[in-house]
């Protein structure tokens, strides 16, 4: 037992009866194995290669308590949705790790789509859940995954049956904050797309207030043969939040998996994507954008494994760093032996707006097959001075010119989102976080245009 991690699992035995699936032996066994692993390894530290650039200082300094039902009743003024005002979008909402049926709306779900909370699903169809839960991701050497397994207390289980094509996106919303003491909560999601099905899912993690909390989320995804999943993720936690979110994905024959992670909040956040292309013809697109300011730290870590021949992946991550923010990108493409004809492409680009901002990138290729085509690129730098000069020389004020250049820089990332509605909503959300003077300059353009 490590001293600094003790508080996170201190009352494990006492909590066990209140956690989802407490009546199922296999769930308890799973939790115990997670606890054991977490206790063995402790918190990740910067000596571990995967955590070289991210120190979990907030977890070392703050004593987080488990959430209770009272926390779940926190008042949510405005639901953080990508589709404001659209009522027909099915959504499942959790506040501080508690399901909020008053905010959720699952009435419009088409036939063949099942969306439950973790505890609901364990009660409804435990046998089916057992065949997936904890079997997609690898817990070894990932202590925070193990911690989630031990403590999982909320989350959504989504199942799309064979051949079902879901037109409307489904939102899974997690709101946290407004608690008296710092709390920790552990959503565990499971998304299963059966053969020939299609769906668009959006995970939203949002924060309320200014108090610290710890969100440790794990999402397991299984994309069946010839299925197509678009899985988007928005992280807008509050200023003091610590957010660790990992996705563990396996993609079967001729299946498609597309993900886009936007990070625009959190004191310390890390988004991990572990994708295994396990079927021939599998294809994945793992993309992301981040905008960090103040002293925020954002880490995007991805591992894409080409396990069988004829698989393809594409990865684009772009970010803007202001003030004293720190960005980290660690991308790894592994091509297993015999996974011939693998095609992998990875790009990481960062724009530094301030002298104190920092970017650390580690794009990795690990290749054991010869007939492959893999490449990666990484850049970091400031706004192109000559482009800025060009705009300024045409009478565009400095702040607006900068704003325009940031927009065009980010556009390349947002273009990777294939769902148009989501793309616009995400880009909009992002642009609203740009420095305030940009809005002033937008007013300037409006005034100027109206004068003319």
């Amino acid at each position: 037992m490590h001293e600094i991690t003790e508080h996170l699992v201190k009352n494990f035995e006492g909590q066990l009866p209140h956690l989802p699936g407490s009546d199922l032996n296999w769930v308890e066994a799973m939790r115990r194995s997670g606890l054991e692993l977490f206790n063995d390894v402790g918190l990740p530290n910067t000596k571990m290669e995967e955590w070289k650039y991210t120190r979990l200082r907030t977890l070392e300094d703050t004593r987080f308590q488990p959430v209770n039902e009272g926390n779940g009743a926190a008042k949510v003024d405005q639901l953080p949705t990508l589709f404001t005002g659209q009522k027909e979008i099915p959504r499942i909402v959790f506040v501080n790790g508690c399901l909020r049926t008053d905010l959720s709306d699952l009435d419009n779900l088409p036939d063949g789509v099942l969306v439950h909370s973790l505890s609901g699903s364990l009660a409804y169809d435990p046998v089916w859940v057992r065949s997936y839960l904890g079997r997609i991701g690898q817990m070894d050497s990932r202590p925070l995954f193990a911690l989630n397994t031990a403590m999982m207390n909320s989350g959504a289980i989504v199942r799309v049956r064979k051949g079902v094509i879901v037109k409307s996106p489904i939102e899974m919303i997690f709101v946290a904050g407004l608690t008296n003491v710092p709390v920790a909560y552990y959503p565990r999601n499971l998304i299963v797309l059966e053969e020939n099905s299609q769906a668009t899912l959006i995970n939203i993690h949002d924060g309320l207030g200014v108090g610290p909390y710890f969100a440790n989320s794990v999402t397991e995804v299984d994309v069946g043969n010839n299925a197509n999943l678009r899985h988007y993720r928005v992280q807008t936690e509050n200023l003091e939040a610590t957010h660790i979110g990992s996705m563990h994905v396996r993609v079967a024959n001729e299946a498609n998996y597309e993900t886009f992670s936007m990070s625009a909040g959190g004191r310390l956040s890390r988004t991990e994507a572990f994708v295994r292309l396990e079927g021939e013809g599998a294809h994945c697109r793992v993309n992301g954008a981040y905008f960090m300011k103040g002293r925020e730290h954002c880490d995007n870590t991805t591992v894409i494994e080409h396990v069988v021949p004829h698989t393809k992946c594409r990865e684009v991550f772009k970010g803007v760093l202001d003030d004293e923010a720190c960005g980290v990108f660690q991308g790894k493409i592994i091509v297993h032996k015999d996974a011939q004809k693998a095609d992998g492409h990875q790009l990481s680009r960062a724009l530094l707006l301030s002298d104190k901002a920092e970017m650390d990138a580690k794009p990795e290729l690990e290749i054991y097959a010869d007939d492959v085509k893999c490449s990666h690129g990484a850049t970091s730098g400031q706004i192109d001075e000559s482009a800025l000069f060009y705009l300024r020389s045409r009478g565009i004020p400095d702040a607006l010119a900068r704003n325009m250049l940031i927009r065009s820089f980010m556009a390349e990332a947002f273009e990777e989102i294939t769902d148009e509605k989501v793309r616009d909503a995400m880009a909009n959300l992002f642009m609203h976080r740009l420095p305030a003077q940009c809005f002033l300059s937008e007013e300037w353009t409006r005034d100027k245009l109206s004068n003319e």
Binding site: M359, L365, D370, S380, G381
Partner: protein, 485 residues
């Protein structure tokens, strides 16, 4: 077409030769007792009649080393090294009373170098190359000394430099690679036996290429050479090292340290053609090449350029690096690493940008064949004061055969918005189209591969001094021998 037939002929010639440097020279050697302890270090120090401060430094390093653990982060895997099962000093016996000139050198030794194709007799020397030859633990001969001294360039074994210019050695030794740096560099600091020392005084452009040939001959010896090159203000020097070793079944450790220092407006060009014995087809034997090479661009507008052709060694594990301290200083790294059969390599560079407007360029070409495994590992760090700094990195890997591996692990850290970092990497196999094109013109497969690979490496080969570019091209051919078909 002339060039092609030439290359084909060379490759064929080489194919038959396999590792042609694998012979052993039977020569009486004087060795220190097996194992490593403070007495051995005192023995080495006494052999070299070193001043007290150097012995103290060695002992300090040794005591520090005892508490260091083996690094574990690297990709190559190898059995634990038994540091007690090696000789730390081995010298040809006839060297005990130092020869005054080449005529006094043991003819057996001279023959060895002749076989290696390294002409020690000055009249035969390629125009403009001065050679320092290191055999096991001692330097056997340095050529062209007089001519170099005319212009004030000091080029001699480091053990001699300790006697001749102790102030310089004392000032710079360990200033780039401190004795606490890493396990192998610390070991080297404790037991280093010989190596080259170069000092180029202010305003001098060294009139010829300097060169060192290293050879490990004796059984069970480790070679720990230490090279120190100082380029004073406004000076320039080009330095080349080459290495070979006999074929032996056991692994031999080569843990060298190279330190380069450039002051204002100075430039050092350091080229390596490394062809230590790579072990046999099944990975038995071969040299462990664990080298710490680092240069410090201390002065403004100074430049350090590393070029390496790594074809030998069972394991190559090194990162020739540049610390760009002076404003406007430039660091370059050009590398070809070829691994075949069971060879492993984990190599790359570190570019640490500290000064303003510093620039660095990294071009790395890796070729992996057979069951070999190769990693490019590099660090580019832009410090908070490195405004206007710029880096461009390109690493390409070529895979030949479906049982080899090629990995790229770059670390890019930027703490300055005015610094621009660009990194690109690709991994692919030899283009079928190119091979087909060559094959349909009647070139056999192996030669075609050699040609394509030579083209792939061209950017780096061009950086080598003329005389060695030819040799390196041939090496590329031989190293890949047996990798196709």
């Amino acid at each position: 077409m002339g060039a092609i037939t030439n290359t084909v002929a060379q490759v064929r010639e080489m194919t038959e030769e396999k590792y042609k440097y694998g012979f052993v020279t039977h020569i009486e050697t004087e060795t220190a007792p097996k194992g490593l302890n403070e007495d051995i270090i005192r023995f080495i120090s006494a052999k070299k009649s070193e001043p007290g401060w150097l012995l103290d430094w060695r002992l300090k390093a040794y005591r520090y080393w005892l508490n260091m653990s083996e690094p574990r982060w690297q990709k190559p895997q190898f059995p634990e090294i038994d540091y007690q099962d090696a000789y730390y000093y081995s010298a040809p016996k006839s060297m005990s009373d130092k020869p005054k000139s080449l005529d006094e050198v043991d003819p057996e030794l001279l023959k060895t170098y002749e076989k290696l194709g390294i002409p020690l007799h000055e009249q035969e020397v390629l125009a403009g190359v001065a050679v320092d030859a290191v055999f096991d633990s001692v330097s056997v001969a340095t050529t062209f000394k007089a001519k170099l001294e005319e212009v004030g360039v000091i080029f001699c074994p480091i053990s001699e430099a300790v006697q001749r210019c102790p102030d310089l050695v004392k000032k710079y030794l360990g200033s780039v690679v401190p004795y606490t740096d890493n396990k192998h560099a610390t070991l080297n600091s404790a037991v280093f036996t010989d190596g080259s020392f170069v000092y180029v005084p202010k305003g001098i452009r060294c009139p010829m290429e300097l060169s060192t040939y290293f050879r490990i001959n004796a059984e069970n010896t480790g070679q720990f050479e230490r090279t120190l090159i100082i380029a004073d203000e406004d000076s320039y020097v080009s330095y080349l090292e080459g290495c070979t070793a006999p074929m032996r079944d056991e692994n031999q450790l080569h843990a060298a340290v190279v330190e380069l220092i450039t002051l204002d407006n100075a430039e050092i060009k350091y080229s390596t053609v490394q062809n230590w014995y790579p072990g046999d087809k099944n990975g038995r034997g071969g040299i462990y090449n664990f080298v710490t090479k680092r240069g410090a661009c201390r002065g403004r507008n100074s430049k350090i350029s590393w070029t390496q052709v790594e074809t030998g060694s069972a394991i190559t594990w090194k990162y020739p690096s540049c610390i760009l301290q002076g404003d406007n200083s430039v660091g370059e790294f050009f590398s070809i690493a070829i691994t075949n059969n069971a060879q492993q390599a984990d190599t790359g560079t570190k570019m640490i940008h500290l000064g303003q407007n510093t620039k660095s360029k990294i071009i790395s070409k890796g070729i992996s064949a057979g069951r070999a495994d190769q990693t490019y590992r590099g660090l580019v760090r832009m410090g908070p004061k490195a405004a206007g700094a710029r880096n461009y990195t390109q690493c390409d890997s070529l895979l030949i055969g479906d049982t080899c591996g090629a990995h790229t692990v770059p670390y890019i850290e930027s703490k300055n918005k005015k610094a621009l970092v660009e990194h690109e990497a690709t991994t692919s196999k030899i283009s079928e189209d190119q091979l087909f094109y060559l094959r349909q013109r009647g070139i056999d497969e192996e030669s075609a591969v050699a040609l394509v690979v030579n083209g792939f490496c061209r950017e780096v080969l061009q950086q080598l001094p003329m005389e060695f570019a030819v040799e390196a091209q041939k090496l590329v051919g031989i190293s890949l021998e047996g990798s196709v078909g």
